[in-house]
Symmetry: C2
Amino acid sequence: MTGSIKEIAKIAKVSRGTVDRALNDRPGVNYEVAQRIRKIADEMGYKPNVVAKALATHRRVTVIGVVICSEGNLFFDDVLAGIEAARQEYFDFGITVKVLKMKGYNPQQQLELIESLRKKGLDALAITPVSDPKVRDTLNEMIGEGIPVVCFNLDLAEVNYIAYVGCDYYKSGETLGGMIGYVTGGKALVGVITCLSVLEGAQKRVEGCRHVLSEAYPECRIVKVLEAGDDEEVSYQMTMKMLSEHKEIDTLCFIAGGVVGGLQAVCELGLENRLKIFTFDMTPAAIEGIKKGIIQSTICQQPYEQGYLSIKTLFEVLLNDHYPDSDHIYTELNIKIKYNV
Amino acid sequence: MTGSIKEIAKIAKVSRGTVDRALNDRPGVNYEVAQRIRKIADEMGYKPNVVAKALATHRRVTVIGVVICSEGNLFFDDVLAGIEAARQEYFDFGITVKVLKMKGYNPQQQLELIESLRKKGLDALAITPVSDPKVRDTLNEMIGEGIPVVCFNLDLAEVNYIAYVGCDYYKSGETLGGMIGYVTGGKALVGVITCLSVLEGAQKRVEGCRHVLSEAYPECRIVKVLEAGDDEEVSYQMTMKMLSEHKEIDTLCFIAGGVVGGLQAVCELGLENRLKIFTFDMTPAAIEGIKKGIIQSTICQQPYEQGYLSIKTLFEVLLNDHYPDSDHIYTELNIKIKYNV
DNA sequence: ATGAAAGCGCTAACAT
DNA sequence: ATGTTAGCGCTTTCAT
């Protein structure tokens, strides 16, 4: 029972057009009249009907752009699935979702993709932002022009976005620490294969893990951390190096990608039953490793929700003028073991 | 680009009314004409616009009824939150969600609630079904009358529902087994506090757990299983009984409710640091126990999604004529430990 | 059996 | 500054 624009018009003794203008802060309406209309709407608890609104605005297409660093990274398949689900759901609302994929984390390339979207007209943007001052500035510039922005999966400091949608990386690292403690009985010499140092998330994971181990499991220790980019070949080599140079390592953690190459190295060395292995996310390689019992656990961050929610959040802003309660929408951290994959 | 009813009408050289009738299998349209219209729609990949459809049907209210055994069970708070979110989201589509809560699992009471909904006019039903032949028959009768039904949280055999939305209980039991193995280092004498034997889900959990322990952790054994209903007082007594009669027990599992009473007994006996304790779901008591380190892990089943998805599934059927791929929509099983609650 | 037209709640172009 | 009116895509009532 929220009433309609028609009712308000009748009570205020003005036309529906005027009510529409007043309630949407459109120009060309007397201040006092606008105030009166707003008061009436307020008192009757008026909420605009989104469905009708969408239908009426249907002639003009609303474009939500997506820039995503997904190429060559299977993790993002689920994120893309979530985006696609949202796209279908909002299609009838007159919303078009344009997805632009890129490989790696090159700021220049990302800027070009953003630019190409802006040129063709853009009403909102969801992006996995590369950590770069120019990207940050460009995003803030767009936000200044009234284009709402959501960052997802990757957070970027000092951007005035609607929200960051993704996991709490530090917490996911702590969770890893907790699982290492459980699985190893509190005794572990840990080798860590991380990705690019560019990705702040990866660093936070290592920190979080280190924190829990030192607080709760004094007999667990990180022996060595090596960077492998997100490249399987490099990961293979780094894992080889790690395991041959540090024979004392009994626990191996893959902070992001590189699971395929890493596991290959482990198996070639015949260590798959002696090492306790931990990963993040549910890439095909991780699923296989979990099922085979080679990987003890993998910590997931709800990739599908990250994609879906990013679009949904922008949709709510565009059509409903509804902003999320917090500008950090954290997706749940889920531990997966052999039995609940 | 799915085209509109108007375009189809133009191509078929009929009026929009006839197209509408043909495409929705409404009576009063010549068979050949209907065929031709359907063919044209098919060829242009026509998909009706849900938003416009909802607006047009807006004058008639569509009612989704919910019967939920939630009273006195804090687990269902999140389920209700999911239902409420869906209710708000679909309100503008002209959909009213009527929630009827009941306490416990009395079939007679549930039948009365269903009846009261039917009397006032009901277009779809979401229900946590009590395991009872009369309930089953009544649901099937309604389904026969064209009212789509979704069962959530609790599955009920031989009901021709659209879908069951909830967890895989057996699998959740297996997951418990896996966590017991990890946390105890593969050595455990387990006491189990379960709820009513009426709830088949609880039995399946125990079976799943037993299966994993016997397969993967031969030195883990379930010593004793006691029933506590969902009553905290009974749970307190049963836990007391279990721990005093079986002093060898070093691991305690709460299969469903009763965590408050159970933990009270444990603490009074001063065993909170000697026992490994496992629970299901994220009730306030479980969260507190996890944070304090008394509970080692709790296995969750996405209660919010269960509520939200139940309504969404019915919405899709009612407005979109879209049925889910499978009649079993399993929500994810998530392991929570101290660091990812 | 089919067509014509009104209307769902809102927006926007066009009058005044 | 305000009113009027024509849609958005679909359903539904009323004619024919």
